[in-house]
């Protein structure tokens, strides 16, 4: 049978339902974000781990210009290596029926007559290509899906200058290409970029690479010294144009997944504590009020013989019931959001399967953390009532003592009305509660700033990258470095209005013991399509002597203008050139260094070469240009700036919009939880004096003003605090994103602050209005009959 105290508990809850619900919702946000972030983290991490293990994802990677396959035994002999696969990897142009613009592709060889030792393929449909069947390919599933390809379909590729019809025999997934982006792209566009796999024999024939390889992946033994292995591989590949081995950390697909996991980890460690803190504070606030109101009842219960455990447990139960309601909502929301996020991941990351992983311990974790947080909030009030002797408890609490501002030297009523003075004195009487309420509200402003600023940053990023730095319409890259004639060929293509050549090569930049693998770009003297910008976005000339490096490179190598840097030309047997740093460039993507094309060619000492051309296009002649490019054998890839930009904007905006809606909901819940509860507590504490005011003839609006002034002070003070906290959150988000792949500038426009404040203020006003209705219903007579 339900005990009498439990009956009281249920009635208390029914009486407090609105406040309890507001707190439960804040707790729900905490629980939901734990389940969402930790669950998604685990799903992604474990799925990736399983895929990597089962399909033997490499640990070390390297590429070279052309190395003989007989090196294989020497590579296998390197201590710590457990498996090696030597491959041919070549960028190609694709011509897909129904698509005007050429797509870019990556052709990768797979071993004949045996399974690959490293980076095995997961066969989704069909089969792998047969050895010696020169036209059979297995394509990566995302590309096939984007074009509706099934085994038996065909597409064309320009392979080594020849158009080649390819037959799709299978759809595959690869642990190397879970996330794959094409040249010039910032987000995956599976329609315009496809990876496909061919028999080694067939591919080596097509690229004249018999008995040679240009790419290597190796698995290593547990606890192997990766750095040492990379060094050994570099030594072996140096004579063959080896561009430097790298590990998983720098493998593009893996690095993007790492960045995603890092963000989830950051989310799991930042967002839930905000909600748990706010809910602990709210629990503290309503429980201490409830206990004050029930003080005499508690005294009576004690006098009747109820023990401290029974009484403390009674109030603890109340809090736990609220926490459980929060958990139920939070678990549902967490699961729903987690499944949604995992589905979103499935759009970007190609796994054989990716399900939102739930396990009992995840929910147990959320429950443990939520209940602990709420009990932490309750402990002070419960302790206070437990230690109170029954005789003292049964006497009403001593009347509230107020103090004058500044020890009576300041008379506020000279400046404010009595009603305003009442509101301010109430604030000063409980400064800690006022400060905490303000802090709680400011967290919702901060969450919004941290969510909304991404629009500003991405806008700035798009403007800088696509309109200030790389202003070309397309970038054509040649199969290999070509002479100046190639530039004339490009200029002659239909629709080309302007053309600027560039040359690029992979290098290792070294300063003392700091080293970075990257590429240097040589730009013509008056380069206008692609520009080098300093951190004020003012253009810099490509240096004739020396190197302009991007900020990220400067940070990694601890370099400043005027310093000297060693440039190891990996394709030229590791010859080292020593160059001065002449400037630092603003760049948000990748690691870059620039110099003038002439200086570049002088440094290379191999003649006047170019790697590709940036072009401006007459839009009316696009179709003709695309057609011509597809028929130009020397072009290995084309990056289309407008399409890349639109795809980037579309993808990012879709993600940000989803994220922002979630954050707005979270912020509204915090605001509601804090403002509503604060107003209810105020009303409970001041019902008597407010009713007295009504009796003296003050109107409802005047009486409400007393309540609203304190709320307004809380909400207004929360704004600047929230902006500062939001700035800090945004800063840490930006820091979390910072990687060699890309960095996000910290740009927060004024309207982002304004919107964050507007949303919170609207939520606050609505919460206050709900309480305002209670002021209208104050029982004037009852309140006069009772002593507080």
């Amino acid at each position: 049978m339900i005990s009498v105290l439990d009956k009281k508990l249920l009635r208390d809850l029914r009486h407090l339902w609105a406040q309890a619900l507001a707190i439960a919702l804040v707790m729900a946000c905490g629980a939901a974000t734990i389940i969402l972030a930790v669950g998604s983290y685990r799903s992604l991490e474990e799925t990736r781990g399983a895929f990597y293990d089962r399909y033997r994802f490499g640990s070390v990677f390297a590429s070279a210009v052309r190395a003989p396959t007989h090196l294989k035994s020497r590579i296998e002999a390197i201590s710590g290596i457990s498996g090696v696969e030597l491959r041919i990897v070549e960028p190609v142009l694709l011509d897909v029926v129904g698509m005007k613009e050429p797509a870019s592709g990556l052709a990768i060889s797979i071993p004949d007559h045996r399974d690959a030792k490293v980076n095995r393929l997961y066969l989704r449909k069909g089969r792998l290509p047969e050895p010696n069947r020169g036209t059979e390919v297995a394509v990566i599933e995302t590309f096939a899906k984007a074009h509706g390809f099934v085994p038996g379909d065909h597409f064309s590729a320009i392979i080594n200058g020849k158009k080649q019809e390819l037959d799709i025999v299978g759809l595959v997934l690869s642990p190397e290409h879970i996330y794959s982006i094409g040249p010039g792209d910032m987000v995956p566009d599976p329609k315009r970029f496809g990876v496909f796999f061919m028999s080694e024999n067939a591919l080596s024939g097509l690229f004249n690479m018999e008995n040679s390889f240009n790419d290597l992946s190796a698995t290593t033994m547990r606890n192997a010294g990766i750095k040492q292995i990379m060094g050994d591989i570099d030594d072996l590949l140096k004579p063959y144009g080896g561009v430097g081995a790298y590990d998983r950390e720098d493998q593009i697909s893996n690095a993007f997944l790492d960045a995603e996991l890092e963000q989830l980890r950051a989310m799991a460690s930042v967002i839930p504590p905000i909600f748990l803190f706010v809910s602990a504070f709210l629990v503290n606030m309503i429980l201490s009020r409830l206990i004050t109101l029930e003080r005499e009842q508690v005294g009576l219960l004690k006098a009747l013989g109820y023990g401290n455990i029974a009484i403390g447990g009674h109030y603890a139960k109340l809090v736990i019931v609220i926490a459980i309601v929060g958990l139920v909502f939070g678990s549902g929301a967490g699961f729903w959001l987690g499944r949604g996020l995992t589905r979103l991941f499935a759009n970007f990351y190609s796994f054989p399967f990716l399900l939102f992983k739930q396990s009992l311990d995840l929910y147990a974790l959320a429950a443990g953390v939520t209940i602990t947080a709420s009990l932490t909030g309750a402990v002070k009030s419960i302790w206070a009532i437990v230690v109170l002797p029954p005789a003292v408890a049964m006497r009403p609490k001593a009347p509230t003592r107020y103090k004058s501002f500044f020890a009576g030297r300041f008379n506020p009523t000279r400046f404010f009305s009595q009603l305003t003075t009442m509101a301010f004195r109430h604030i000063f009487r409980r400064p800690i509660r006022f400060a905490m309420t303000t802090f709680g509200t400011s967290l919702s402003v901060a969450l919004l700033v941290a969510a909304l600023f991404s629009y500003d940053s991405i806008d700035h990023m798009i403007d800088t990258i696509f309109f200030q730095i790389d202003r070309q319409d397309a970038t054509l890259t040649f199969v290999d470095d070509r002479g100046q004639r190639a530039l004339l060929n490009v200029v002659a293509l239909p629709g080309v209005i302007k053309a600027e050549p560039f040359r690029t090569t992979s290098v290792k930049l070294r300063n003392e013991h700091f080293e970075v693998q990257m590429s240097i770009v040589g730009l013509p003297k008056e380069s206008d399509l692609s520009r080098i910008l300093d951190h004020n976005l003012a253009p810099l000339d490509p240096p004739r002597k020396g190197l302009v490096i991007s900020e990220r490179v400067a940070e990694k190598l601890r370099l400043r203008p005027g310093d000297m840097v060693d440039v190891e030309l990996t394709k030229l047997n590791g010859r080292i050139a020593r160059l001065p740093i002449t400037g630092i460039a603003q760049s948000y993507v990748g690691l870059t260094a620039y110099m003038s094309l002439d200086a570049f060619n002088r440094m290379m000492r191999d003649g006047q070469w170019i790697s590709g051309v940036r072009i401006k296009i007459d839009d009316h002649k696009l179709d003709k240009l695309y057609k011509a490019v597809k028929e130009t054998p020397i072009i290995s890839s084309i990056a289309l700036q407008n399409i890349s930009r639109d795809k980037f904007r579309e993808t990012i905006e879709q993600n940000i919009t989803t994220m922002t809606s979630v954050y707005v909901a979270l912020a509204v819940i915090i605001t509601f939880g804090v403002v509503y509860n604060s107003a209810r507590i105020q009303l409970s504490e001041r019902a008597r004096e407010l009713a007295s005011l009504r009796v003296f003839g003050f109107t409802r609006a005047e009486v409400s003003r007393v309540l609203m002034i304190e709320l307004a002070a809380i909400v207004l003070l929360a704004q600047p605090l929230g902006w500062s906290l939001g700035y800090m959150f945004a800063w840490s988000v930006v820091q979390g994103f910072e990687s060699d792949l890309y960095r996000i500038p910290l740009i927060i426009n004024t309207d982002t602050f304004a919107w964050s404040s507007i949303i919170v203020m609207i939520a606050a006003v609505l919460s206050a209005l709900i309480v305002r209705r209670r002021v209208d219903r104050l029982d004037l007579i009852q309140v006069l009959k009772t002593r507080e």
Partner: protein, 199 residues
């Protein structure tokens, strides 16, 4: 000055609440001058309380966050032609306690602040519900003296609800209540001073 007498539940407070515009009568009519209170809406009743009525309650109902002076000044902010706050407090003998908060005042002092607050707006009617109910005899007499003085000095119509039959002798008129009805009305031919009230 009228004293309303009667046992608990006899209807004194309900009468006072209706007359004071705090409650609506279920039947019958109540007039204040030419205004029919029983047909007033909430807004009009608020206006009526604001402009014409002063209240004094058993538990004082002072605003704890305002000093004695400010509690009185509170009413002057919305009154049409209030007296000076200092004068109102002097009338109840509290000119030296003006800067104290309610928690720093004795029960009798708090009730005198409440009286000063009720009369500062020069109300036409002063309604007191058990003004001495929470006070000892000595303090109670001080409060009654304040009420009598106001009645005499300002001529404010004053109604005092009490359980204490001894108080009836200070009034001009005594109305007795029983079971929700007026059972008796009589005029005192001779009145005593509050100090002579036997508690």
């Amino acid at each position: 000055m009228t004293v309303l007498l009667g046992p608990s539940g006899s209807g004194k407070s309900t009468f006072l609440n209706i007359v004071g515009g705090l409650d609506q009568a279920t039947s019958g009519t109540v007039f204040f001058k030419d205004t029919e209170l029983t047909s007033c809406n909430e807004r009009q009743l608020t206006r009526y309380r604001r402009d014409h009525v002063g209240f004094v309650f058993q538990f004082y109902n002072l605003i704890p966050s305002l000093t004695a002076w400010e509690n009185v000044a509170l009413v002057t902010e919305v009154a049409k032609s209030p007296m000076r706050v200092d004068d109102a407090l002097a009338l109840v003998g509290l000119e030296n306690r003006m800067t104290h908060f309610p928690a720093e005042l004795s029960g009798g002092e708090q009730q005198r602040v409440a009286i000063a607050r009720a009369i500062v707006k020069r109300p036409e009617v002063l309604l007191c519900d058990e003004p001495t109910g929470a006070l000892d005899s000595k303090t109670g007499i001080v409060v009654l003296e304040a009420l009598s003085k106001i009645n005499e000095d300002l001529g404010t119509t004053t109604a005092i609800i009490t359980h204490n039959a001894g108080i009836q002798q200070i009034a001009h008129r005594v109305i007795s209540f029983l079971d929700g009805r007026i059972s008796n009305i009589h005029e005192n031919s001779s009145r005593i001073k509050p100090a002579e009230v036997v508690w």
